[in-house]
Amino acid sequence: MKTFVWKIGGEAGFGIMTTGLAFSKIVSRLGYQMFDYIEYPSLIRGGHNAYEVVVSDDRVGSSPGSIDFLVCLNKQTFELHKDQLSDNAFIIYDKDEFIPETKSTLIHVPFKKILFSLKGQQIMKNTIALGASLALLGTDLKIFNELISQQFRRKGEDVIKFNEQFAEKGYAYIIEHYKENIQQVLLPLNSESQLVMTGNEAFSLGAVIADCRMYVAYPMTPSSSVLTTLAAWQKTSRMVVRHAEDEISVINTALGGSFAGVRSAVGTSGGGFALMVESVSYAGIAEIPLVIFISQRPGPATGMPTWTEQGDLLFTVFAGHGEFPKIVLAPGDMEEMVGLTTEAFNLADIYQIPVIIMSDMYLSESHSNIKESFVTDLIKNYQVNRGKTITQTNTTPYLRYSDSSDGISPRLIPGVAGSFYQANSYEHFEDGHTTESAEERIKQVDKRARKIRTYFNNDFKTPMIYGNFNEAEVVFVSWGSNKGVILDVQKKLRSRVKTAYIHFTHVYPLKKEAVIPLLNQDKRYVLIENNAEGQFGKLLQMGLGISFSETILRYDGRAVSQQEIINKVNLK
């Protein structure tokens, strides 16, 4: 396996994000696997932005923690990241800005002079730097120029040409001055076509595939790009995308849409979800399907808006006053995000409950590539399953909440002539009318609770196991976005210790008899979570009586690193 890390840094607000994404798309189109990660402060201008891309000829889902090619658009980039440089690292910099003190190979590119000579703007420094990077990595400008054309298509040929010359200058400078340093690490591979997307974009695509017709949101980092992506697509997808006045309006608009018969979803982060919680409870008692996307960031309160954490699991699992069923799913990578999103819409319709997709900043905003055929196959094979949703009824009066052995009542889409009913937030009779009868109360509570048994029988997914569980000495237990780093670590440890990874995606509710046999073996279990309290561990303790003596818990706003898992395993 051949893997390297390219990283670009500079002042926030000057195009680092666009350049990083261009690099990701270029390596992806060349056939490589990639994973990128951005660091940025909660500011528009000022502060430091960094964009790191891990490139490999094999599947990759996390940063190895070292940098092989560091592009410094300013001195701060070097100062902040110099300790991560690998032994044979290259540094692209401009000696008119600063001179790095390092044993790494220095590649001077006169950003300032080129900008000046071509009358470019600050932001085009990125284009020069990317052109130079591609030369140093041994590939050409073909794909980059295509991306430039795409980006500036509407602005005309002159603008395209103007931008392309910055890439060409950077490229030519390397060929002319650093020919002997060129690394042949980006030779095109024969791979099938790949798509580059973030977790938020993967959710957006999944929602479209699942025939979601209404998405409502209020901007909140790191979930906002779902709103902007779906809004950008709305003329094509014909989804109604509403940016409402607050999160309470958001969820109640979506509940209105869902009641009226369209698949609906909302998206937010922990703080916005806190505002929605009363309405989650309404969805519970009124049995209105809804998909809720939560992208976590470190709390409490405003916390660290642009950093990552898995700190809202228990809050989410227990969100809502009163007792009612809900399902919580946690994808670990882009394939799972697209797939579980489409599944979430089916589960919401089948069980007529809120289904929550848990993401976090790390998964939501990192890009990774997936095979295009994975997506096209999903599009082809996905079946919209609306469960007991009905469009006609012969029953008079129609009983919206009729008692049933599986807990699910036929749900009539409103508008059918001759019928009517209400989705009542009060406890109700089978016909939907308000009641305070003890007998009716018990009937409805039991009916709603029975959905979970049905879910366990029909749709609960036992966690995936990576590695040979029977032979494993060390068993990692985790959920959601930690999947990438754990799979990468398993590869690194392969020659030294046998490991397995139990990856939970269907994190709540947990089917006890399916999960316990995985966790009560005579193994060295290590619980890995991106939070301080080991929240999933607590959930396992509470529901299954299982506890962990070894944990890796990270809560500094950064994702769990390969090295800290390796250190933990090596400790014994």
Partner: protein, 284 residues
């Protein structure tokens, strides 16, 4: 043709003499006159004595959370804009807990009719001050008299973009029915604020009180003049309550401006999206 009986659900639980009875009758008669049926109607009910109409008025209805009926109504309209949509709410519901939704719905000119039972007191929670209570009003939650000025809901609606603003009195159900009918017929956001006595908890704003303090707008009132309308609305602070349509203008409704909705097919009924060749290049 539907009848009042078609819309009639369970026997109401309101106090004898409550203004809600008159409002219930006026709504049903307006619906019948408009040729609507329980199956062609969405209603979002709030929580309160007004919201309790949920069990007495037949429709495809959401009896949701306190304050949140307006976004429920907006969602229903967007999903199936061929249905008529009402929000039946109270003053605390709409102007207190859900005040933010109210002003933004006015702004959006969503094609919904908001019918507010304004009795200036919280009845269902047994007698606390409402946002429309008069300054100094003594209640269980404000035994020394409420310090805030009352909300002026009509001005609020007028200045935030509502395209139909009317006021009626629960003691005059014929006029009230006319207001509701006109509001439903209006395309865009319509408000009917109903002055309503609460016999049990509000001993100030009684039937007698309103008989003395209300007046009907006559033909000379210019419904298209916002400043005149605001002037009439501000009469609330001088205990002069205008009844009738204060303001009405034609503007394109929210759902009519959503390009992906067409006039003939609702969002619910349109075909599934399939043209992924338009989307996937975004990721390459």
């Amino acid at each position: 043709m539907s009848t009042v009986q078609d819309f009639t659900g369970y026997q109401p639980t309101w106090c004898p003499g409550c203004g809600d009875w008159g409002i219930g009758i006026a709504i049903k008669s307006a619906l019948v006159q408009l040729g609507l049926s329980p199956s062609s109607l969405f209603v979002a009910f709030g929580i309160g004595c007004s919201g309790n109409m949920n069990d007495f008025l037949n429709a495809y209805a959401m009896h949701g959370l306190h304050g949140r009926s307006i976004p429920n109504a907006i969602g229903m309209k967007l999903a199936n804009h061929k249905m008529t949509v009402l929000a039946v709410v109270g003053d605390g519901d709409c102007y207190g807990e859900g005040g933010n939704h109210f002003l933004h719905a006015c702004r959006g000119n969503h094609d919904i009719t908001v019918i507010v039972h304004d009795n200036r007191v919280y009845g269902l929670t047994t007698g606390q001050s409402a946002p429309t209570a008069q300054k100094g009003y003594k209640s269980k939650s404000t035994p020394l008299g409420i310090i805030e000025e009352s909300v002026d809901p009509l001005s609020l609606a007028l200045t935030q973009g509502a395209t139909f603003v009317a006021q009626a009195f629960a003691g005059d159900t014929i006029h009230l029915g006319q207001m509701i009918k006109q509001a439903i017929e209006h395309k865009g956001f319509s408000l009917v604020n109903i002055l309503q006595p609460c016999l049990t908890f509000n001993k100030i704003n009684t039937y007698q009180y309103y008989m003395k303090h209300v007046y009907k707008l006559d033909d000379t009132h210019d419904k298209t003049n916002m400043l005149t309308a605001v002037n009439k609305a501000r009469g609330v602070y001088e205990e002069k309550y205008a009844l009738g349509v204060l303001y009405q203008v034609e503007k394109t409704a929210f759902h009519e401006q959503i390009v992906q909705l067409d006039s003939t097919t609702s969002l619910k009924d349109r075909d599934k999206f399939t043209d992924y060749n338009q989307l996937l290049p975004y990721f390459k």
